[in-house]
């Protein structure tokens, strides 16, 4: 069994009942906002917004932070790169490394932005059924002339749906392989050249095998990638428009100051 990272927790909160398109638009808007906000005050306000929204879901805030954990290494790397490679007033000097004050600020800002982005994404995935997310994306993409690229929005939606649905299984697979290799005395993190192949090779082989089986099973049931009818047609409600309006207003206000 896998601890949830980006998984859906069923519920009936305000965020749960919003249209997936509203939440998708909100995540995009917040993404832009996060990267347009320069001041630490602004970032703090956005963080407060996250806490407020998270409390709406009725889920403990801690579970959203799990979404950050897999990316932690990347975020630390970005922070360090900014810290040491930004020109500016030198803070201290270790050997050839000279962290600057500007670097510290840039690093903090950039890592805070990535963390916020992940948190909002986690908020959406925790409060939205994966199939509703893809349904929303499909609906948003439908007017675009994707045919010229050789795909259509239905195929795209199915692909996303499957990727999301299989994500927990992927983690389960990782855990299984990790457990097997750790039992043979492998210690992750000590020697990546040694441990990465031991993890990645069985993983890729397993995923390819799963994908082949899934494709066969889908085709056997008549899947052709053409338009399919859906169980629930999406409908934007008053509260969706109201939430989007409130968010745009909030963004405008924040960018103003």
């Amino acid at each position: 069994m896998q601890e949830p990272v980006f998984s859906y927790v069923p519920g009936t909160s305000f965020l749960h009942t919003l249209d997936p398109r509203t939440k998708l638009a909100a995540v995009m808007l917040l993404g832009i906002l996060v990267f347009r906000t320069e001041s630490f005050f602004g970032i703090g306000v956005i963080f407060a917004l996250f806490i407020a929204l998270a409390s709406f879901t009725g889920l403990p805030t801690g579970i959203f932070f799990r979404a950050v954990r897999p990316m932690l290494l990347f975020i630390i790397f970005i922070f360090l790169a900014q810290l040491f490679f930004t020109e500016g007033k030198v803070l201290a000097s270790f050997w050839i490394l000279q962290p600057s004050i500007e670097g510290l600020q840039n690093g903090l800002r950039l890592s805070a932005r990535f963390i916020l982005l992940l948190l909002f994404a986690a908020l959406m995935t925790a409060s939205t059924d994966p199939s509703a997310i893809t349904c929303g994306i499909e609906r948003i993409l439908r007017p675009l002339p994707l045919r010229w690229l050789g795909v259509n929005s239905y195929e795209l939606a199915t692909m996303m749906n499957i990727s999301i649905a299989f994500l927990p299984l992927l983690f389960e697979r990782v855990e299984r392989t990790k457990a097997a290799q750790a039992s043979r005395g492998m210690y992750f993190g000590r020697n990546p050249f040694h441990s990465v192949p031991a993890l990645v090779i069985p993983l890729i082989r397993g995923i390819v095998r799963d994908a082949e089986e899934l494709a066969l099973a889908m085709e056997s049931r008549g899947y052709q990638g053409t338009r399919r009818t859906s169980m629930h047609e999406l409908l934007m409600q008053k509260r969706d428009w109201a939430s989007l309006f409130a968010l745009v207003f909030f963004a405008a206000l924040l960018l103003r100051f």
């Binding site: 069994m1 601890e3 949830p4 927790v9 889920l59 403990p60 801690g62 579970i63 697979r173 299984r176 392989t177 457990a179 097997a180 290799q181 750790a182 039992s183 043979r184 005395g185 492998m186 210690y187 192949p197 031991a198 990645v200 090779i201 069985p202 082989r205 397993g206």
Partner: protein
């Protein structure tokens, strides 16, 4: 010294809305040299239980010790050889040799020592040396499982722990694994296996631990197990019980088709003899 679990509980996704108790207040003791079967339905907590033995999972409460050592120590990973259901999930080397040598090299044994252990493990799973240069992915399911088994044996474990080792194998593969496990047990290594394949394993088990909803609902010898009501039985044992219930004077304590055949034939000749005497 044995593997000891004292009042062990374990939860998944603790402190989240998805929290589920996998094990509740488990007390268990596994001695060296035993052949123990851990039985139970899917989701009962069997796989969680064995992952506590070598520190892959840590109990939320209670205590686990292996030969008086903490399960997180590296030495415990050596003393407990672990083999999982899907051997394909752990094979990654280009040759069977490298695959079996992976464990010993992780523990820092010399090249010579490792080679010795690989040959020994290979013999234990009844492969000949031509196998060593083969690509593990070109093997059958049963052969892959034997490579995984050899990989665990190369550490010369005191306890061999297996999670559904014969599920999904063809009958030939199943028999290979079962024969190998019997041999390993006879050489003094404790074998602990999680299984729901009673048909294959029942004849080998010396002690049975039955888990229901995270609790141990039975533990004892095979004989005691057979005297217990409402426990899962091998199909052939159920059949013999049914025969007895319907008035055929057979001995129901039978676990294999061969034994059943013999027993039924014995009763048949007995009945014929009685008839002739009348």
């Amino acid at each position: 010294m044995p593997i000891i679990l004292e009042n062990v509980s374990f939860f998944y996704s603790k402190n989240t809305p998805l929290e589920t108790a996998a094990l509740k207040d488990v007390n268990l003791r596994i001695e060296k040299g035993e052949f123990v079967g851990i039985l139970g339905e899917k989701g009962a907590g069997k796989s969680t239980l064995i992952k506590l033995f070598n520190g892959l999972l840590r109990p939320d409460s209670g205590k686990v010790t292996v030969d008086e050592l903490a399960p997180s120590s590296k030495e415990v990973k050596r003393r407990i050889g672990m083999v999982f259901q899907q051997a394909a999930d752990q094979l990654f080397c280009r040759t069977v040799y490298e695959e079996i040598a992976f464990g010993p090299l992780n523990f820092g044994y010399s090249k010579k020592e490792t080679e010795e252990r690989v040959f020994e493990a290979l013999e234990a799973v009844s492969f000949d040396r031509s196998m060593l240069l083969r690509d593990p992915f070109s093997l059958s399911g049963g052969e892959m499982q034997r490579v995984a088994l050899a990989g665990a044996l190369a550490l010369r474990p005191e306890y061999l722990v297996l999670d559904e080792p014969i599920t999904g194998l063809d009958p030939g593969g199943k028999k290979e694994i079962l024969d190998t496990l019997k041999k390993i047990k006879d050489q003094g290594t404790a074998v602990i296996t999680v299984t729901h394949n009673l048909k294959g394993f029942f004849p080998l088990l010396e002690r049975i631990v039955l888990i229901r909803e995270g609790r141990i609902s039975f533990q004892g010898s095979r004989k005691e197990y057979l005297e217990t009501e409402n426990v899962p039985l091998p199909p052939v044992t159920s059949m013999m019980r049914e025969l007895k219930a319907r008035g055929v004077p057979v001995n129901p304590a039978i676990f294999t088709v061969e034994e059943a055949l013999e027993e039924i034939l014995r009763v048949k000749s007995l009945l014929e003899k009685e008839k002739a005497e009348k």
